[in-house]
């Protein structure tokens, strides 16, 4: 059985790099969403409740799709004051992602994320596993 998806963080001077490892591309995108939630809130939350939505993201290639997926979550989190922690990727192609997302209302986001960037961005596949790097401006 393939190992579950995981993520880790690498610190830069003013930014934060997320590194994701997953057995499939949909799992990689879902794990990226969980990593973002961890950056924004840092502490475990209750099971997501009270907020669900469908997200459609379009971009010109899979790497850009990863950045735009995270930026979609940054935008929605900030304007709705919701921390999204549960992601079901229902459609994924090289240029489009559709996902059902669930989250929890929070009074404030503990740690700021301005945006995901294209700097140092990568998605690679090796021996059936997918890894990605994306840098957040925090």
């Amino acid at each position: 059985m393939a190992a579950a998806a995981s993520h880790s963080f690498e610190e830069h001077r003013g930014e934060l790099e997320i590194r994701i490892d997953a057995p499939s591309l949909p799992a990689l995108f879902a794990e990226a969403g969980r990593a973002l939630a961890e950056v924004m809130h840092a502490t475990p939350l209750e099971a997501p409740a009270g907020w669900s939505d469908e997200v459609v993201v379009n971009a010109r290639d899979p790497e850009a799709l990863l950045v735009e997926w995270l930026n979609e979550l940054v935008f929605r989190s900030e304007v709705s004051k919701v921390l999204f922690t549960d992601f079901e990727i229902t459609h994924l192609s090289d240029r489009q992602l559709v996902a059902a997302i669930r989250g929890t209302s929070v009074e404030q986001l503990r740690n700021p994320v301005k945006a995901a960037t294209y700097h140092g961005l990568s998605i690679t596949e090796r021996a059936g596993r997918f890894t990605a790097k994306v840098i957040l401006d925090v």
């Binding site: 963080f9 003013g14 304007v79 404030q108 301005k114 960037t117 294209y118 700097h119 840098i135």
Partner: protein, 484 residues
């Protein structure tokens, strides 16, 4: 395009006072040299991260002229280094949102009272507390001035004059003392996305997180008495410094246009060594659209500092019971993250400043009439708990640095490393023992902005003074901090 990143020990040739150059190398894609203002110690610190590689990448931008410039507070960013300056020739040189950054018009506003520290210290705790209540800190919190969509568009299009004229926020005479009068003429609210407006609609008058702050300070050193008098600064004087930007609205404008330019740059035959440097010709439809949106976001930031300054003065007058001299008068408001159209000789240039300050000299016609003959005020915030500086621009900077200088101390350590080295509660006690009252959402966030996480601001300012790209006037010591 491929460009080989320079090794950590890349040769930097001394070409002037506190000025080093990496020569343009054939076959690398560099269109111009890279130059860095620094002394040996700061250069040693700059070499520890990837900022030099990032600056070399900037030299590849189409239309760049003279050199890509690094200020002495330069550190690694994304795309451009923070503390980077690049000028492209109009009309067809490029504009790059990554050369301005996500926090469009992050900047600084300096206010002065006529009080001395002994007049304020007995009320300092109450002053700082009330300021923290009047100016929401943190990230994504609701602000004090919720805007209708029509009001938002007027803020974006008309900037500070609109707030003064129609909301009574600030004095009419303040406007001349804000960079560009607090309104960038190229602003086009129609180019700002609905998403960006939604992010900003409850954020006018809020500090935001990270390194943003309001400080109550005392003038503790004067380096140029004549210039200090002209700026109405005197020893022992109480001042207030506001450091914040365009909040989520600016972040979203950058997000929207990096994506757009990443999608369209190929149709202009442009390739870049880093996707975050995505750019298009300034004269293209996408370039003009971004410039309109960026100017609008900059106006939002000018207005944000205008509202916060108004609140700060209300607090001063309330807490100090209207004591004579408690009014806060504006010295200047200056931007750190912008692209501006400026003339240098017979060239019209788009000057990108990312973590850098415009610093026009005394002969410039674009600075307030009251400061002509002196130079544009340059405000350099230190890291939390360390000194800030007031400088003035020089005419020489027009030749040396596209009239640009540093913007702060510059990070020397990541936030995580700072948290591992510093305990927030201990730092809070240390600052209190030095007579500095702090309001900060958490000890963790306090530790992230600890002074040791930054370069030595005294050294950074000395370098720009010695290099001739700004001139030291006064040093400000903090006594109260509201951290975002």
């Amino acid at each position: 395009m491929s460009i080989s990143a320079p090794p950590a020990d890349v040769e930097l040739r001394s070409v002037g006072s506190c000025l080093y150059e990496i020569e343009r190398r054939a076959g690398t894609g560099m269109r111009v040299p890279a130059r860095i203002f620094a002394d040996e110690e700061l250069l040693h610190q700059i070499r520890r991260d990837r900022s030099i590689s990032q600056l070399v990448n900037v030299t590849t931008l189409p239309g760049i002229v003279d050199a890509a410039l690094g200020m002495p507070d330069m550190h690694e960013g994304y795309g451009f280094p923070v503390g980077g300056v690049a000028a492209t020739r109009l009309p067809d040189g490029v504009i790059s949102p990554g050369g301005i950054g996500f926090d469009i018009n992050c900047g600084v506003r300096l206010l002065v009272s006529d009080l001395r520290d002994e007049d304020v210290v007995p009320s300092l705790e109450a002053l700082v507390h009330e300021m923290s209540r009047s100016v929401p800190a943190g990230y994504g919190r609701h602000g004090r001035l919720a805007l209708t969509r029509d009001e938002m568009d007027r803020v974006l299009g008309e900037g500070c004059p609109y707030l003064v004229r129609e909301h009574g926020l600030g004095r009419p005479e303040d406007l001349a003392l804000v960079e560009s009068g607090g309104v960038l003429a190229g602003a086009d609210p129609g180019q700002v996305s609905e998403r960006a407006k939604r992010r900003g609609e409850d954020q006018l008058g809020t500090l935001g997180g990270g390194n943003h702050f309001i400080e109550v300070q005392v003038v503790d050193a004067i380096f140029d008495e004549s210039a200090a008098r002209a700026l109405r600064l005197f020893p022992g004087q109480v001042t207030v410094l506001v450091h914040t930007g365009s909040r989520g609205l600016g972040h979203q404008v950058c997000t929207d246009y990096v994506k757009l330019m990443d999608e369209v740059l190929h149709k202009y035959g442009i390739t870049v060594p880093d996707r975050q440097l995505a750019c298009v010709p300034f004269s293209s439809p996408e370039g003009r659209s971004y410039f309109g949106a960026m100017c609008a976001a900059a106006n939002f930031a000018f207005c944000n500092r205008q509202v916060i300054a108004h609140r700060a003065e209300e607090v001063f007058l309330r807490v100090l019971h209207g004591k004579p001299g408690a009014e806060l008068r504006l010295v200047y408001d200056v931007a750190h993250n912008t692209a501006k159209i400026e003339r240098y000789g017979d060239r019209m240039l788009c000057v990108h400043r990312k973590g850098a300050t415009r610093a026009f000299g005394p002969s410039s016609a674009e600075i307030p009439a009251v400061y002509r003959g002196l130079g544009q005020p340059v405000l350099i915030p230190g890291s939390m708990g360390t000194a800030s500086y007031v400088l003035v621009g020089t005419d020489e900077a027009g030749t040396l640095s596209f009239s640009s200088t540093c913007h702060g101390a510059g990070r020397a350590m990541s936030r995580g490393a700072a948290k591992r080295r510093v305990q927030g509660d201990v730092l809070r006690k240390e600052l209190l023992a030095r007579g500095i009252v702090i309001r900060c959402p958490s000890n963790q966030e306090l530790a992230e902005e600890a002074p040791l996480a930054y370069k030595d601001v005294d050294r950074v300012v000395d370098v720009v003074h010695r290099a001739g790209i700004a001139r030291k006037v006064a040093r400000l010591r903090p006594i109260g901090v509201v951290k975002g």
